[in-house]
């Protein structure tokens, strides 16, 4: 079933180095593989809240081992790898250059280092080799070391491409992407330094690490990519470049200090908690600078959004950005956190942030941009099914978790027994499984759609090599 749409992308993709298209698509498809694994594991976990005896006799699949497997394959498998695939697309495009031989080879090396890290880390989690019970850094240090090496290689590749750019200035997307590579290096090293692993220091570093793994890695990467993809897909300039600059510097200033707001009412010093609180409110500045910028760029483009299959993802993602950040700010206030902390509401918040915000912006950019270099569009009906299933599933999951968490919190605020809170959330757990099933089906569909976008055979005929040392690719007589 082939549906003709819009511009013929194989024309747009003509002249693309086929090795570049293949590189981007490999990063993308690795991410999709981890998305499928993470969805399956997440479904098992969600169903266990309904029937705790499900697969209960297996040590390998016990709750404590699958939970980090779900979060880590989603964060470091799916989200990071697909984000980096798009960064490998955005940085050379913004710099108006093509990747040269050494950059292509280095990025390919980084791809396999990263995959080896995630494979090794996942196996380690399954056989019970955790890096302590520290959230989002459960991979053992050698697996995280492979991923860190990949980040270093890629950061260097991005830096090299930006240095040899053909434009006068550096576009804001490149600022965000390069900054994220530097920031995650600091955050990951802090998270794995051995002398911070005792007592209160471990807790404070845990807050710093887990908040900034999201706030200083996923957020700047995906916001940077959107600064490129949204104007590109709407075919108009971004509303305000200055707002973007305000966004990145206030992001750097305010995000770094808010990790401790996860540990209110603990032995963390009060001044540190209060600092985190103030900066959690100040965090609204970069959020509204970037999200407002995106919304103002979309203003008056209703028809374009209706007719496109990638822009609806971006619209949902931008609204998800605002909702996730606003929810984070109000949850950090002491009076709210007293009830909501340690309930299912936190799971709801993390799914708003990583799903409704990061993943939707990601998918919008994937479907909008990647066909321009691979020369193949995804089947429109599959993308539509993906959008509606993911949107409905995500909404069901997020709303049920947040409402269930609020009821649970109300039970604990009223001082009623703990088991009442468990009983109250039971129906919401069923709804979470329903939402999770819809999301998993959406992910299967997206895997098919993204496979359908694999680099086309036409690229090998019309693609050109970027370096002068290697001759252009066309060899019509050899292909018959």
């Amino acid at each position: 079933m082939k549906i003709p749409v819009g511009i013929p992308v194989f024309v747009a993709a003509a002249g693309t180095d086929p090795r570049f298209a293949r590189l981007v698509h490999r990063w993308l498809f690795s991410g999709v593989f981890w998305l499928l694994l993470g969805s399956a594991v997440g479904l098992i976990e969600a169903y266990r809240h309904v029937d705790p005896e499900f697969l209960a006799d297996s040590a390998l699949l016990s709750y404590g081992r699958l939970r980090p497997l779900h979060t880590m394959s989603m964060l470091f498998g799916f989200a990071s790898m697909t984000l980096l695939a798009l960064c490998l697309y955005v940085v050379p495009k913004c710099s108006r250059i093509t990747m040269d031989e050494i950059e292509l080879r280095s990025s390919n090396l980084a791809l396999w280092l990263w995959n080896a890290g995630v494979v090794g880390g996942s196996v380690a989690l399954l056989i019970g080799q955790l890096h302590g019970g520290r959230e989002y850094r459960e991979y053992p240090i050698w697996a995280m070391g492979l991923i860190a090496a990949a980040v270093l290689v890629l950061g260097w590749v991005f830096y090299r491409m930006i240095v040899r750019r053909q434009t006068k200035g550096i576009y804001i997307a490149c600022w965000f992407i390069l900054a994220a590579c530097g920031w995650i290096a600091v955050v990951a090293v802090m998270g794995y330094l051995p002398f911070f692993k005792r007592g209160m220091a471990d807790t404070i570093v845990q807050g710093f690490y887990m908040h900034n793994a999201v706030g200083m890695w996923f957020t700047p990467l995906v916001v940077g990519i959107t600064y490129y993809s949204l104007p590109k897909l709407l075919n108009k300039p971004i509303y305000s470049y200055a707002l973007g600059v305000l966004g990145i510097f206030t992001h750097l200033l305010f995000y770094t200090l808010i990790g401790t707001h996860h540990y209110m009412f603990t032995a963390v010093p009060d001044w540190l908690e209060n600092t985190a609180l103030i900066f959690s409110v100040a965090m609204m500045v970069p959020v509204f600078a970037s999200a407002g910028n995106f919304l103002l760029t979309m203003k008056g483009e209703k028809v374009a959004i209706q007719q496109s299959y990638s822009l609806p993802f971006l619209l949902v993602g931008v609204i998800g950005y605002i909702l996730a950040s606003a929810q984070g700010t109000y949850q950090s206030l002491r009076v709210v956190q007293d009830g909501l902390h340690l309930t299912h509401d936190t799971g709801g918040h993390s799914h708003v942030a990583m799903y409704c915000f990061v993943s939707f912006l990601l998918w919008g950019s994937i479907y909008g941009l990647v066909p321009r270099i691979t020369g193949r569009e995804p089947p429109v009906r599959l993308v539509g099914a993906h959008f509606w299933l993911a949107f409905a599933g995500g909404m069901i999951m997020v709303v049920s978790l947040c409402l269930g968490g609020a009821e649970q919190g109300a039970v604990s605020v009223r001082g009623e027994p703990f088991m009442d809170g468990v009983r109250v959330v039971k129906p919401y757990m069923v709804w979470r499984v329903v939402g999770g099933c819809l999301m998993a089906v959406a992910h299967l569909i997206s895997a098919v759609a993204i496979y359908a976008m694999r680099p086309g055979a036409l690229l090998d005929i019309f693609g050109t090599s970027p370096t002068s040392s290697t001759p252009p690719v066309p060899e019509p007589e050899g292909r018959a």
Partner: protein
Amino acid sequence: MGDRQPSVLWHYWHLYDPRSVSPGSVMPPYRFLFRVSTAPDGRLGPEPGFNAGKAWLWVAVLGVVFMGLGWLLFGPTPTLVISLALGVGAGAMLIHDCALCAVPAGLEEGEVVEDGIDALGLPKDAKLVAGPDAKALAEYLLSLKRPVPRR
């Protein structure tokens, strides 16, 4: 935790079958930390669920499938790089912690639970043997006391 439930037996029951002591709980059971003995001389029965050999078999099978897919899709070099990294990682884990392969040996000297066996749905003359992990977990939970407020 240690203040509310100061009995080590309660923690063993809770780990083996959470709903036997806390009706309506949604905690998954941790039966694989225990072994059940029904023989009169106290010999251990077969262990429930996965054992270390099976776990490694699964890892090996999944590894071979993943490698095969990688070879088909991306060619030999990346597949070999990943295999090498995995081998080094798995070797490091085996050297670092052999707890998984040492489970049967550790269980022989585990703690025996005899009281309240029938509430767990086991035969009356059965014995429940807590493995080293269950023992360490119960000891940790018992050590969690409310701090004494400073004046």
